[in-house]
Chain length 332, copies 2
């Protein structure tokens, strides 16, 4: 089935109000969950909403908590999320990073004790929509083996980079694992293979078989040793900047919460770039799009382009959602 | 053969002085080329030195040029490399980013018209050795196809993240291609296969065969679409911040020069972290190292650990170099 954006957002808001969020907070959070779904990231939108409500009821997320500034070094501030709703805290921290960037050229907020931010790309788009370059990342619980290891001791720690552009922001939103566990599960349920190797089977061979990967839990870091290394650095830097939990710490909790995140913003407007540079950037994007495609029926996309297409399609046709999931949300 | 560190450094310095560098510049640059070699990155140390001298003689690198500050927004400065020697300019810009970080908590220098920085990790180690967290990246000429494309229109744009630590800095230095062209060439000459897929053959299949990849030029981005997207963003953000050339622009030149780079630093000391946090970081690193290895004869390393091992080994035994390369340098 498909549900119209406004209807979905209203439904989320209704439930969040019931959970004790203020009118404003419920509205803003509902918008983020609906936007993530509109942009096609259902796993961190409509399909995750029920679990977020469960986290509230388990006490991991505190609807009345307010994030607070802990300390400042000028362009770099440290905040404590106080276990408020992750999506609201992340929005607030990117907002604050943009304010700092307006004052100092670059702004950085390091955040501890926050909850899952759902789709990290949300905060990249937030920056880009406000004419800021945005860079942000999060740590998470141990869900991926380090390079050379069998057991999961590092996180898939997504990083987001976003560049504003009149003809459509350029945004990359990527976890350090080749595929999410959600994607592997969906592929298994559809009885399909992953498009490329996604992990290792019990014999230690690379495989596209979702069953085999679920059996070992050995998901593949992007670029093998490279994604493993990048994941470790993103985790440790976030923890040091925020004085917050590492992936190792988070793995000791009952469930994924009290994470560390970093938000960096730079005002594109203040850079005072010429229209010539603007044109060069557009030419670069077009140059990439004009690559010779691997087959005649494919197209080369710039990062963020397909998100825009999905957004337009879902706005027109409604957001796809499984009936049982939608019924469950309506019953909350 | 192996050459002692001091002897190699002195030889580099002799040649650089002959090329018109000042005593101080020749000394500093010689140290960087020798350090890169000492750390095992021969491709961007001793093996690249002759080509750098050629670039000077072709006029791409100007030995007497001095990088200059173009503009400032406080914690973010824009510099012009004026086509000075890339390694010296990169050092200077990371130094400046650290100064800005001391004043503002975070510092960023965006650099245009610079030359190849050789091993990007150098500037990560530079930051870490001074108790700063360092993040930096560069763009380059088009040398990798975007995801879904056959022809090379994006760069392999390396990114470096570095964290200071008493027991050894944690440093990742990674290009966006799974393997460098240099590595593919070496593997071909040794008549070996790459350890994992490194690109595509003429039939469009993934392959470990270096010959097949050199035939198509289709090297693989790390994580397929992910490394492709990250490469595009790193390039465009560097160009926008520095008001400098994009990968597309650089591809129009006769050879690789006038690049754009970004240097970000954060003072770890100023963060005022507790010794408890220090311990947590060490525990995290140890937790990763204590992973169950994929086989009984392998070890799990943290990023930067093997560099330290190589450094110690090459300090003791001398730096490995092919006799003909060393003779060529001595004849310069």
């Amino acid at each position: 089935m498909r549900v119209k954006y406004e209807e979905m957002k209203d439904e989320f808001k209704r439930v969040l109000l019931k959970e004790g969020f203020s009118e404003q907070a419920a509205n803003e959070a509902a918008k983020i969950f609906a936007d993530n779904s509109l942009d096609g990231v259902y796993s961190h939108g409509v399909n995750r909403f029920v679990r977020v409500i469960e986290f509230i009821e388990k006490g991991y997320i505190n609807p009345s908590a307010v994030p607070e500034k802990v300390s400042t070094l000028g362009a770099l501030e440290r905040w404590d999320g106080n276990l408020a709703l992750g999506v609201l805290t992340a929005r607030k921290c990117m907002d604050r990073a943009m304010e700092l960037a307006t004052d100092y050229g670059i702004g950085c907020v390091a955040l501890r004790n926050t909850n899952h931010w759902m789709r990290g790309g949300e905060y990249g788009w937030q920056a880009a929509n406000n004419e800021f370059i945005g860079i942000c990342w999060t740590n998470t619980l141990p869900n991926m083996p380090a390079w050379g290891a069998k057991d999961s001791r590092i996180g898939n720690n997504p990083i987001i980079l976003a560049l504003p552009r009149k003809d459509g922001p350029v945004v990359v939103d990527m976890a350090m694992s080749q595929f999410s566990y959600g994607r592997i599960e969906t592929t298994r349920m559809e009885e399909k293979e992953l498009p490329v190797h996604g992990g290792y089977d019990i014999q230690g061979n690379l495989t596209k078989d979702p069953n085999a990967i679920e059996e070992t839990g050995r998901v593949l870091p992007i670029g093998f040793w490279k994604g493993s290394g990048l994941s470790i650095l993103l985790d440790l830097i976030a923890s040091v900047l925020a004085d917050g939990n590492t992936t190792n710490d988070i793995g000791k909790f009952d469930d994924e919460h009290a994470l560390s995140q970093v938000f960096i913003a730079i005002s594109k407007e203040q850079l005072g770039n010429s229209s010539e540079l603007e044109q060069k950037i557009n030419e670069s994007v077009q140059y990439i799009k004009d690559s010779e495609p691997v087959s005649s029926d494919t197209e080369v996309y710039y990062p963020g382009e397909r998100t825009m297409k999905t957004r337009i399609e879902n706005t027109r046709m409604g957001i796809p959602v499984k009936e049982e999931i939608w019924e469950e949300i309506k019953s909350l």
